[in-house]
Amino acid sequence: MDHRIREVFREVFDNDEMEIWDDMAAKDVLEWDSLAQVKLIIGLEEEFGIKFTTHEVAEMRCVGDLRETLLRKGIAE
């Protein structure tokens, strides 16, 4: 799952070398503005074939939260 999440981040931020880690959040990436946020949500929904609920998105504070949400939604490790 991690490499799939990373691919989405790399695509949204147009950076082939980008790395992600568990407590990575918007404050850690200069270009992570609201537009990037929209692209991430849409990109992740497309990659994993799922739809986030409002509650899920509101509660996601970092990449680690994202991982947990995906696991809860039945995405395989």
Binding site: I41, I42, F52, A58
Partner: protein, 475 residues
């Protein structure tokens, strides 16, 4: 308030404005009352949208993108996603964006004048089911049943396009006789041969015929839309002529209308008399071209055209067209001097100024006002200050008739010389040797290529070509 914003855009940004209208949302606490009640949200939004259409009609440099209709086409229940709206302010849902964009692009094409102009129709499998060359009139499917009826419906749609100003042509691999048979002989046929501007039926490759159609109609390949039910033909044309639009056609003729309509090839901003006239004037051009290929010599061709030239001093009625020609013509333009409409008006009836507009008619129709000549008397000579012709009428020797009119005038006034000038531009190389070819003497040449020419009226008589009937309206 919106009008104010549009005006600001136009004045300060010099921009054409595309205004989206408002989607009438599917969810409403008032339900159907939202449209029934005077103050209902749905009713108000519909009224606002109607006002937006009215504003576009005022011709103020705006166009409305019908988001309400686009959302309906997509399906309003999936058009907006409330989750994405709340978490990211995203509207509409990402899956709907391609449809929104395709409508936006169609509108942009309309604004930029890039819409297609001409439908190129295959016959078998498109206008009727079956193959006319093999099944004959009674064997093809047209009307009289489920399949036949869908072809009739498609013909109705195509005919409406033609009435709107879209040119129809036929391009079919068939014997011409077989191909034309249903037009006029089949009782369920909607289209007539009159609706078809150019009828091409032969066994040559389709890309060659498409090029012939484009050349004859004098339009770009990118103005053509090919409708063909044969996937191999479609693939071939796409490969050979990538500029031609070739829509995918479904297997079921009942879906043909949708297949073409959905592509929005022909969106425009307005419908003018010129649009409706366009089909007629293209037909006239085709007839001229056909006649040209049939003539055995240029002389025969020109004489056979039965051209009538009308020369007239400038007048108020022709002023806009004259000014348009003076400012738009680049190729057949000896001096490329531009004048405003006010400046042109000041030349009307002015002493010492010779003005003539030229209108050309031939046996196929009226080419319109297509030539302008302005000459100024300077002592014993008269100098051609502005001389231009629309590229529509090049190669017909009309320019000689215009010059002849000036020569006669100069003689009548007792002048001794006619002076011509050529001022080179990147676009008027066509006429760099015009005066030389007409028999003028070059008396001055500048390093930049500008030339001055002389015609001594006492020494030479100007011979006009005999293929014209001249109507010279001198006051």
């Amino acid at each position: 308030m919106l009008r104010n914003l549009w005006q600001q855009c136009r004045e300060h940004l010099n921009a054409f404005v595309i205004q989206h209208n408002f989607e009438i949302l599917p969810a409403d606490p008032y339900g159907r009352l939202s449209a029934v009640l005077k103050g209902g949200r749905a009713r108000l939004l519909r009224q606002i949208n109607l006002e937006l259409w009215n504003a576009e009609q005022e011709g103020t440099g705006i166009a409305i993108l019908d988001v309400d209709q686009i959302a309906a086409i997509y399906g309003k229940t999936s058009w907006s996603d409330p989750v994405l709206w709340h978490v990211a302010k995203q509207y509409p849902s990402p899956d709907a964006i391609p449809l929104l964009v395709s409508h936006q692009v169609a509108l942009l094409r309309a604004i930029l004048g890039l819409t297609a102009k001409c439908l190129v129709l295959d016959l078998d499998g498109i206008l009727w089911g079956g193959v006319i060359g093999e099944d004959g009139l009674s064997g093809i499917k047209l009307g009289g049943g489920e399949v036949g009826d869908s072809f009739v419906a498609f013909q109705h749609y195509i005919q409406s396009l033609q009435r709107r100003g879209i040119i129809l042509t036929v391009c079919s691999k068939n014997n011409e006789e077989d191909a034309k048979l249903p037009f006029g002989s089949h009782p369920e046929m909607i289209l007539s041969l009159d609706d078809i501007t150019m009828f091409v039926a032969n066994w040559r490759p389709k890309n060659e015929n498409l090029q012939l159609i484009a050349e004859t109609l004098n339009i770009g390949l990118d103005s053509l839309v090919l409708v063909d039910d044969n996937p191999a033909e479609r693939a071939w044309v796409r490969q050979q002529l990538p500029e031609v639009e070739v829509p995918e056609m479904p297997n079921d003729p009942a879906q043909y209308i949708d297949a073409i309509d959905r592509q929005m090839y022909f969106e425009t901003l307005s419908l003018t008399k010129e649009d409706r006239r366009r089909v007629e004037s293209y037909r006239e051009n085709v007839q001229r071209k056909v006649f040209e290929t049939m003539s055995t010599s240029i002389e025969d061709f020109l004489t056979g055209l039965q051209m009538q030239v009308e020369l007239k001093p400038f007048d108020e009625a022709n002023l806009p067209r004259i000014a348009q020609l003076i400012n738009k013509t680049n190729q057949f333009n000896l001096t490329t001097r531009r004048l405003s409409e006010i400046q042109v008006r000041s030349l009307i009836d002015r002493p010492g100024v010779y003005t003539r507009s030229m209108r050309l008619r031939d046996r196929f129709g009226d080419n319109g006002l297509t030539g302008v000549l302005i000459a100024l008397e300077e002592g014993d000579r008269i100098r051609i200050d502005i001389w231009l012709m629309s590229c529509r009428v090049l190669g017909r020797r009309v320019e000689e008739t215009m010059l002849g009119g000036l020569m006669r005038y100069a003689r009548d006034r007792g002048l001794r010389y006619v002076i011509g000038e050529y001022i080179p531009t990147p676009k008027n190389g066509l006429v760099s040797d015009l005066f030389d070819g007409l028999g003028f003497e070059c008396i001055e040449e500048e390093p930049n290529g500008a030339r001055k020419y002389l015609w001594a009226l006492s020494k030479k008589v100007f011979m006009e070509p005999g293929c014209f009937q001249l109507v010279d309206q001198t006051r």
